[in-house]
């Protein structure tokens, strides 16, 4: 059988093919922008040209028909030009200001809200979860849907926040969703050591790779039934799942023990303060599909306490740094436990070495 014609290493299509003519004409020549209302931006070029953007919250997981639906709207209102943001929002790029309201009405008639600009909660960055990942400790799409159903008014700007608030969800410690630098993050966690399938392990896995994979050297070589194998020092396991990544015979998922943790106070922007990691707020909440009420309530509580207490232009991490962590736990009513104190590398750097408590 002859191989059908195929080309390789051609790279992505050149982006210029997809730029709106107004964008092409004013590329690199933008002067300023304004947020006309939540979800609507105007960018003005040096020469006076304007391009309008309508940003809307789309689920990251969608059908080809949903993509076609977005295309229908783009064709109806903006000559077919659309884009997506780094937070999985869809953006329509309009030349004609008069099309803004009809587009927003059309979106909203189909259950899609405009928003996500300025001092709002933008769309949640998230991972695959049970929808499509083998190492997931929780689902991501369902969890995100449940959280955003509750926080939608913060996306649309109906309720204002002191500053922008970015939420991320990752379904395990691999953190494909980069939850380590978000204002609020939900992270799926495993809580028991891997269960070794000795027979599969000796057929499938390289023992030196398994041993090397453990960041705490908690995996040791051993002999089981005359075959080379490994054993796990369970007291030293922190459930990172890295051994499972290199050896399928060491599954770590466990319905009785998997769940989610909640993290706060990260940011990537350099504005005012330097980028910050998220820090642990709640070590464990149960996996409770389909709506994860405990996780949703925990996130909502933190958002509400932040909205009440933060000053204008304070991100969650900046707010907490001002009031101090003791006050954060006090105001949110979250219990501070042994698990909040770091015991990994450089843990001592996080101990308080001052008499100042704020």
């Amino acid at each position: 059988m002859s191989t059908p014609q195929r080309r390789t290493d051609i790279g992505p299509p050149h982006y210029e093919k997809f730029l709106h003519p107004i964008i092409k004409n004013n590329y690199g020549k933008w002067k300023y922008h304004e947020v006309l209302k939540p979800g609507v931006l105007v960018h003005v070029a040096e020469g006076g040209d304007k391009i309008y953007t309508v940003r809307a919250g789309s689920p990251r997981l969608m059908s080809s028909d949903f993509v076609r639906f977005l295309c229908d709207l783009a064709e109806k209102y903006c000559d077919g030009y659309l884009r997506f943001t780094s937070r999985n929002n869809v953006e329509f790029l309009l030349a004609n200001k008069d099309n803004i309201e009809p587009l927003i009405n059309d979106l909203s008639a189909n259950g899609i809200s405009a928003g996500g600009t300025k001092n709002t909660i933008s769309n949640i960055v998230h991972t695959q979860g049970w929808v499509h990942c083998h190492s997931a400790a929780t689902d991501a799409s369902g969890l995100v849907k449940a959280v955003m159903d509750e926080l939608c008014d913060y996306f649309t700007g109906k309720i204002e926040l002191p500053h922008k608030l970015r939420i991320a969800v990752a379904c395990c410690l691999n953190m494909c969703g980069a939850v380590h630098c978000s204002d609020i993050a939900i992270l799926g966690v495993h809580r028991r050591p891997p269960k070794i399938n000795y027979e599969r392990l000796s057929n499938l896995c390289e023992i030196p790779s398994i041993i090397a994979s453990c960041p705490l050297a908690a995996i040791r070589p051993t002999i089981i039934d005359g075959k080379k194998s490994v054993e796990v020092d369970e007291d030293n396991c922190m459930y990172c799942g890295n051994c499972y990544t290199v050896c399928p015979a060491m599954p770590i998922a466990d319905p009785l023990n998997d769940g989610v943790s909640i993290w706060v106070g990260g940011k990537v922007s350099n504005a005012r303060t330097t980028p910050m990691f998220t820090k642990l707020a709640i070590p464990f909440l149960p996996n409770n599909p389909p709506r994860w009420p405990e996780a949703v309530a925990a996130v909502k509580n933190i958002v509400e306490v932040y909205a009440r207490g933060a000053k204008k232009y304070e991100r969650v991490g900046e707010w907490i740094n001002r009031i101090g962590w003791p006050k954060f736990f006090d105001l949110t009513g979250i219990e501070f436990t042994k698990y909040h104190i770091d015991d990994f590398k450089y843990a001592g750097k996080t101990y308080r070495t001052t008499t100042q408590m704020v």
Binding site: K17, E34, M62, N88, A178, C181
Partner: protein, 393 residues
């Protein structure tokens, strides 16, 4: 009683936010693969665990990356989900599309796969979810004939991604889209054939606001910045003040370096003391703009926790001009890859490798001089590895 096969998922059809369940249930009426995916997801919601098996090596001819094997452990119950591989399609710079291009792509995808997509994956690719092994080659042929190519996966250069930069942002300090396209095309081999110790991510951000989270999510972060003075339009400043903006509270008092002055008539910035954090520009984009001597700060080593803990990228080159053909940048990338090739351990990101070897030693190996901008402070411990001592002759 409802006779729905997905009672738990059906709960997610309710609520204000768009429902992926509603969307995928509609798709399931014509796509057996989508139907079985929902069936399996319902089972996961019931069992509270994943039903995907670990990996599995599949791909298209001549490529080592771009396709991730996904097999179900409940394939007998859900045959449509038995093979459900992921195909990463390299997105256009800045995620700009035309409806025509997206429609063509969706038609190809419906012909071979489940019809389920991610817009987009965490690294930036347009992700096609759910194709059988036998359909991979024909799908790839149709994709490449429509001018689409695969992105990265495994231990290779992952698909580079960028903010929308000069296409629609006045803050962009270099052409993020052009650089991303150039880097993607230059390193097609590194992108498609994994031979690194581990993954390597490039992210191009146009300014220190870093809308693509470059400093947190990429091994090699290229973040736009300027060297000269912030441009001020005093008339526009006055208009902001007249329209009710409290410049003293919202700009002056928020400046982390106390370098903004406002006397009610004119705004003064001490650019020597400015850390280029973007706050004042973000608040008054009509009145303030980055300077004109623009380029980028190059940082290295960000990653999520696995294995040795999360890291942010740290400064490698405080400022570099970025103009085609980007020779200085590419020479640096090549030197770093050569170093990593020699010193990196399997499954060790470059950031972890530098931690192990020491930033000072790394700089020597890649031919960069140490400068104070690379650290927050000099060391505060006296355990110095002096490399030379004298002996009496």
């Amino acid at each position: 009683m409802s006779d729905s096969k997905t009672p738990l998922l059906d709960e997610l059809e309710k609520g204000k936010w768009p429902s992926f369940v509603k969307d995928l249930k509609k798709l399931a009426q014509r796509s057996p693969k989508a139907k079985d995916l929902l069936g399996q997801l319902e089972l996961s919601y019931k069992d509270k665990m994943t039903h995907w098996k670990h990996g599995g090596i599949v791909g298209v001819k001549g490529y080592g990356g771009g396709v991730i094997g996904r097999f179900s452990d409940a394939g007998d119950q859900f045959p449509g989900a038995a093979h459900f591989h992921t195909v990463r399609v390299n997105q256009p710079s800045g995620w700009f599309y035309t409806s025509t291009a997206l429609r063509e792509l969706m038609d190809i995808w419906d012909k071979y796969g489940s019809g389920i997509v991610n817009m987009h994956g965490s690294t930036g690719d347009l992700i096609l979810l759910g194709v059988d092994t036998d359909n991979l080659e024909p799908l790839f042929t149709d994709l490449s004939n429509a001018d689409w190519d695969l992105g990265g996966s495994g231990s290779d250069a992952r698909t580079p991604s960028c903010c929308l930069g000069p296409a629609r942002c006045e803050f962009a300090c270099y052409d993020t889209l052009a650089l991303t396209y150039d880097i993607t095309m230059t390193y097609q081999d590194e992108l498609h054939r994994p031979f690194f110790p581990y993954k390597w991510k490039f992210k191009m951000a146009g300014c220190p606001n870093d809308c693509v989270a470059s400093i947190a999510r990429s091994d090699f972060s290229i973040i736009g910045i300027w060297r000269d003075n912030i441009r001020i339009d005093q008339d526009e400043i006055k208009k902001y003040a007249d329209s009710g903006l409290n410049i003293a509270a919202d700009v002056v008092n928020k400046c982390p370096k106390n370098c903004v002055e406002w006397d009610g008539k004119a705004l003064k910035i001490d650019d020597e003391g400015c850390s280029k954090c973007m706050h004042c520009i973000n608040v008054m984009p009509k009145a303030l703009r980055p300077g004109e001597d623009k380029g980028a700060c190059i940082l290295i080593g960000a990653k999520a926790p696995i294995v040795e803990g999360a890291q942010l990228s740290s400064v490698l080159v405080p400022f570099m001009k970025l103009e085609p053909p980007y020779d200085e940048l590419k020479s640096l990338i090549r030197r770093i890859w050569d170093f990593w090739d020699e010193f990196g351990k399997a499954r060790e990101r470059i950031g972890e490798c530098i931690q192990r070897i020491g930033l000072g030693n790394f700089l020597e190996k890649v031919g960069l001089d140490p400068v104070p901008q690379m650290v927050l402070q000099p060391r505060d411990n006296p355990y110095i590895f002096y490399e030379e001592y004298f002996e009496e002759e």
